[in-house]
Symmetry: D2
Amino acid sequence: MLNVAIVGASGYTGLELIRILHCHPEVAVTCLTSEQSAGKRVSDVFPTLRGRCDLVLENLEPVRVAEKADVIFTALPHKAAMEVVPTFLKLGKTVIDLSADYRLSDPDVYGAWYEKHLNPANLKKAVYGLPEIRRAKIKGARLVANPGCYPTSIILGLAPLLKKGLIDPHSIIADSASGTSGAGRSAKVDGLYCEVNEGFKAYGVGGAHRHTPEIEQELSLLAGAGLKITFTPHLVPMDRGILSTIYATPAKEATTEKLVALYEEFYRGEPFVRVLPQGSLPSTAFVRGSNFCDIAPLVDGRTGRVIVVSAIDNLVKGASGQAVQNMNLACGFPETLGLDGLALFP
Amino acid sequence: MLNVAIVGASGYTGLELIRILHCHPEVAVTCLTSEQSAGKRVSDVFPTLRGRCDLVLENLEPVRVAEKADVIFTALPHKAAMEVVPTFLKLGKTVIDLSADYRLSDPDVYGAWYEKHLNPANLKKAVYGLPEIRRAKIKGARLVANPGCYPTSIILGLAPLLKKGLIDPHSIIADSASGTSGAGRSAKVDGLYCEVNEGFKAYGVGGAHRHTPEIEQELSLLAGAGLKITFTPHLVPMDRGILSTIYATPAKEATTEKLVALYEEFYRGEPFVRVLPQGSLPSTAFVRGSNFCDIAPLVDGRTGRVIVVSAIDNLVKGASGQAVQNMNLACGFPETLGLDGLALFP
Amino acid sequence: MLNVAIVGASGYTGLELIRILHCHPEVAVTCLTSEQSAGKRVSDVFPTLRGRCDLVLENLEPVRVAEKADVIFTALPHKAAMEVVPTFLKLGKTVIDLSADYRLSDPDVYGAWYEKHLNPANLKKAVYGLPEIRRAKIKGARLVANPGCYPTSIILGLAPLLKKGLIDPHSIIADSASGTSGAGRSAKVDGLYCEVNEGFKAYGVGGAHRHTPEIEQELSLLAGAGLKITFTPHLVPMDRGILSTIYATPAKEATTEKLVALYEEFYRGEPFVRVLPQGSLPSTAFVRGSNFCDIAPLVDGRTGRVIVVSAIDNLVKGASGQAVQNMNLACGFPETLGLDGLALFP
Amino acid sequence: MLNVAIVGASGYTGLELIRILHCHPEVAVTCLTSEQSAGKRVSDVFPTLRGRCDLVLENLEPVRVAEKADVIFTALPHKAAMEVVPTFLKLGKTVIDLSADYRLSDPDVYGAWYEKHLNPANLKKAVYGLPEIRRAKIKGARLVANPGCYPTSIILGLAPLLKKGLIDPHSIIADSASGTSGAGRSAKVDGLYCEVNEGFKAYGVGGAHRHTPEIEQELSLLAGAGLKITFTPHLVPMDRGILSTIYATPAKEATTEKLVALYEEFYRGEPFVRVLPQGSLPSTAFVRGSNFCDIAPLVDGRTGRVIVVSAIDNLVKGASGQAVQNMNLACGFPETLGLDGLALFP
C-alpha cells in the first residue's frame, strides 16, 4: 500500500484525483493540502466526499507532506509547483506534477510563455507523461510532467500521422473546445454560470494559449523536425470534455479506410485509446468521467484534407486520470489500476 | 461469479446497470435484451461501452435469457415486466424488477393507477426493495420490486419521523424536482433539448403522478396507519438527480438539533444514507453518479414546520444502484459491492 | 422624451433595464453608473449593447446623475440604495428602486432582516410597486419600491385566494425555484458554472431568506391579518426564471374549475398576468425575456389542498420589466409601453 | 399594413418569425399553417404566445393561404417548399423561403445534394437573400431564398477577404458550432435533452453537410472563381447560436490591424454587422435573440494564417430575423424595422 499526497486538493483536478484514487486498490491518500481552505475538512469543501474521505486540508509545508507520502501529486498553478517539487525530489519522493512547470524541456521556451524557470536542473530529469508515446521512460520515473488537457487530445490525435510522415507538418490547424472545468475553480466574473451558460466562444485565438508550445514540442518530436501549428481553443457550456477537430494537408494520398487501419495498428493494445470505426465520430459525452481518448481519423473527399477528431475528459485523460496512469507506470502497478470506470452517461 | 442478464438494456437505467456492474467483482453480464435495437452491439447504442462491453443486444425471449443468467434485472416499462417475470421465477431465477409492476402490494391499487394486474400471485411474494427499511426481507428474496426514484427520496426522507410518530401523517407535502433522465429515452418533442433546457416546470400536479400510491403505501406502513400526501414533481434542466423538499406539521415540538440526532441514530451504520450536519443542505450535484442519499432534516423556527430535504441520483440510488444493492442482499454479497464509486463532480 | 439614469448598470438587472428601455419610445437612457467599471463603455462590459448603447459608465455622484435624468432607476445592493435615493428625491426626481431598501414599510422589520434603516422618512412615502394590487398608488408616485423576484411570483399567485378569504392564511407553504441570474454578477466560487451546472439544491431553508418578510407583509395586507409563511427557495441550473409552487389549506371547499374562474375574474384586463386554462401548467421557459406572470391554480382532489403554480422571468417581471411598468405608471405613460416583447423560446 | 402568412409555423423558425413580426409595425400575421398541429391554437403549441397570438393553425392549402396574405414565409423542410412556392408566386405573392429549395442556383447541384429539383423555372428568379452582399437585388424581389444559418456566418465572415483577393481561395477551412435549435423540433432520440446535454461533438465531417454547396456557391461568386472548402459543423449543448472559426492562408501579407480596418470599411453602415475592435472576440451569447453578426478578423502571428471568428443567432440572423430583413427590403420598408431588439443576456 502506497501513501499518496495531493498538493492543491481544493481544485477540480485535486478532487478528481481523490475520486479516482478512492477506487485504487494499492494506494491510500494520506495528505491533502490547500492554501485557501487549510483547516477545513476536504468533505466540507467537496461534499461528494463526505463519509468516504474526510481528511483535513493542510497548509503546504513540503517537508511535512513528504513525511506522509511516498508519491506526491502536485495540482498547483504554474510556478507554485516548481517551488516545492525540488524538495519532494530531494526527499526521495516520486512526483507527478499536473502543472505546466516541467512540461517544456527548454527553459527558455518556458520563460517566453510563462516566466523565468526556477528549477532547470530537475526539468532535465522530468519525463513528459503521455504514456502512449513515452511509456518506457515513464516506468520508474521520479518526476513526471503530466500533459496539458488540450495537448493530450491533439498529440494523441496526430501521433500516427506524424510518425509515419503522412501529413505536411506545417499545415496543422487544431480547433479545440473545452468544458468549463478547464478554467479552474477560482472566483471570477468570467466564470460565473450566467456568463458561460448558453454561449460558445473562442479565446486565445492566434497562438496566444500557453498550451501551444507544449503541443508544438511534442508534435515536433513526433515529426522529427520543428513545426508550428495554429491552435484555437473554445469554451463550451458544459462541465467536462475536450473535443479537438484537427486539420492537415496529406503528404501522400490518403483514404479514410487506410487512416483508420493505420490508427488501429498504431494504438493496438493501448488500454485507453479507442480508434472509432469508419463512420463513427467521438463525442465528449462518451468519455465523460473515464480515462479514454476516442479518435476518428478521416479524409475529406472533396478537398483531400485529413481531419482527425479526438475526445477526452479534460479532468481524467486530460489531467487526473492520466496522472494516475503515470503513477501506475512510475510505481510499477498495472497501468489500468483504478482506471476501469466507464463513462457516466447521461 | 454470477451470470447476470439485463432485460431492457437500451434505456438509461439499463445502461447504468451495465456501468455499475462493470466494476462489480462477483458478477458477469452475459445477456442484454432490447426490443428496439436487437441485433446491434450495445456499444453502438451507447459508445461509452466500446471496448469494455460489446455484447450484442438480443430479442427478449424469456427462456433463452434465463438459460444465460442466474440473476435477471428487468428494466422494462410497466406491464412488459410482469409479462416475463413469471417465467424467470418459474425457471428459478432471482429477479430485480425496476418497473412499477411489483411495487404496489394491492393489485386493485395497481389497477386503479396503471391497468389490471396480470400476475397477482407473484405480487404477494415480491419484496419492496428499499434496503434501509426492508433489509431483512430482501436478503435471499427471489423477486425484489426496486423502488421508484421519487419514492426513494421521499420515503428515506420521512422514515425516521413517521416511525417515531413525530409528525402529523396527514400534513405531508412532498415537493420534488428531477433531472431529465427520469423521463427515459424515447423520442418525443417534449423531451427535446430545446424544450427542456433553460426551463423549470411542475408536472402531474395535484396527485396525478403514478409514484403517489407507492409513496403512500410505504409511508402508511411506516406510520402504522393510512395516509395521503400531496406530491408535486418538477422537471429540472439537468441530466441526473432528484431533490425532495418535504414539509410536515410536527406532532410534538421539535428542534433541528433533535431531528439531526434522531436521523443520525436512525441511519447509523447505513452505508448509503448520509445525514448532513446542522447547517448543511444537500444538492443533487453532490450525489451524481453515486448511490448516496443525502438528507437534512430541520425545523422552520418561524412557523414550527418540519422540513426535510433529501437528494439522490435518480439513476443510481433511485434505480440501478439500488437494484445492485438489492442484488447484493438477495444473493448474499456484501451490500456495498460495486457501489463504492464517489460522485462525479463537477 | 424623458431622460433616464440607471444607477448600478453593470449588474444583470441594470443590463436588463437598458435592453427593455432601448425599445421604449418615450425615454432616452442618458446616464449609467457603475462602481466597478466606471470609465469603461457599458458595451465593453456587456458586448450585447455594442453599437446600440455605448455610454461610458460613470462613478455614482448623485447630484451629477440627477442633472442628467428625470427618472432614476436604482439597481444597487441594499443599503447602497438608501444612501443615494434621498438626494434624488430632494432634487425632484422620480425614483424606481430595485433594491430591498424601501419595500418593508416597518423600519424595525427592515432592521431585523437587514440592518438599521437610514431613511425612514422616505420609507413612509414609498409605494410598493406591484401594479396588479397597488396600481392606483403607483400612478404619480415619486418613489416606487420595486418588488423582489420571489415575492412577485408568490404574491400574484396568492392574491385572489387571500383577498377572497378562500384559504387558511396560516397554512401557506411557498416552494420556489430560481435561475442563477438571481444571484447577481459578483465573483464567487459558489456562482461558478461548474458549481451550479447539473445540480439542484435548496438554500435559505427554514425562513432564512430575506424575501420572507416582504412576502409576509404583502400577503398579510391581502388577507387583512398578520400571517407567516414557510418559504423555500431553490437554485436551478438555468439563467432566468422563477417558478413558485404554493400550497395552502382551503378555508371553504374549492374546485379547480372555480379557482380558475376566480383567477380569471381577478386578473381580467391585466396586461401581464395570464391565468392558464384548467389542465395547463406554467413553465419559466414560456415567460423568458417577457413581462408575463403565468398562473395556474388548482385543487389536489385527493387531499383537498389548494396548489398554485406561478412563473415569471426573475429579471423582467421579477425586476427590470416590472420597474419599467412602474415607471410607465408613475410617469403617466401607457402601462405596457416598451414591454410588448414576446418571450424568447427556445 | 401588410398581411403575412407563415407556412410551417410549428417549428422553431416559424415561432421566431411570429416573435419578431409581433413587434413589426407594418405587418399583421393573418395565417399560420402546420401539418402536425392543424386545428390547434398556435399558443397551445407555443405557450409563449398566449394572449398575444392565438391564431388557429391551418392545414397548408396554398390558395387559401394566398387569399389571406400578401407576403408568405415558407418555413418548411426542403422539397415541401418548392411544392407550394410556385402557387404563391403565380397568385402574385411575395415569398421569403427559409428552406434550401431556392438557394442553389444550379438545379444539378441541388439534385446532387438533395433530390431532383421540381421548380427550376422559379429557381432562376430567386434571389439569394444575404442583404450585405445582395441588397440591390433583394429590393423588390418576389422570391427570396433565405440563406442557411451556417452559410450566413461563414459568408459574412469571409466576404471582405475574398472580395479583395486577400486569401488563397483554396485554403479555406470553416469550423463551426451550432446550438441545438438548428436541429429542428421533430421527435428523435438524438435530439433528447440527455443525449445533447453535457456533450460536444462534430457531425457531417468531411464535406457531408448540405450547407457545403451553398457556402461554396456564394464564396465562389465573391472570389470570382470556383472554390471548395472544408466545413465541419459541431453541436453545442445550448439552444441558440452559431460560431464559425474560419482559417485561410493569406494571399498577401496581412496584419490584424489592417484586417480590422478592411472589415470596418467593408461593413460600414451595415445595421446588423458589427466588426469587433482588435482584441475582442465574439460569443454567441452576445447576439442571442438579436439580428447581429459579430465578426473578428485577425492574423495568427506565429503561422501567418488568417483567422476570422463570426457569431450569429442561428434562429435570427441565421433564419427568421434575416427573413424579416429580406421582407423589409423586398417590400420597401426600412431595413431594420422590427429588428431593433437587443440580445437577451444572460
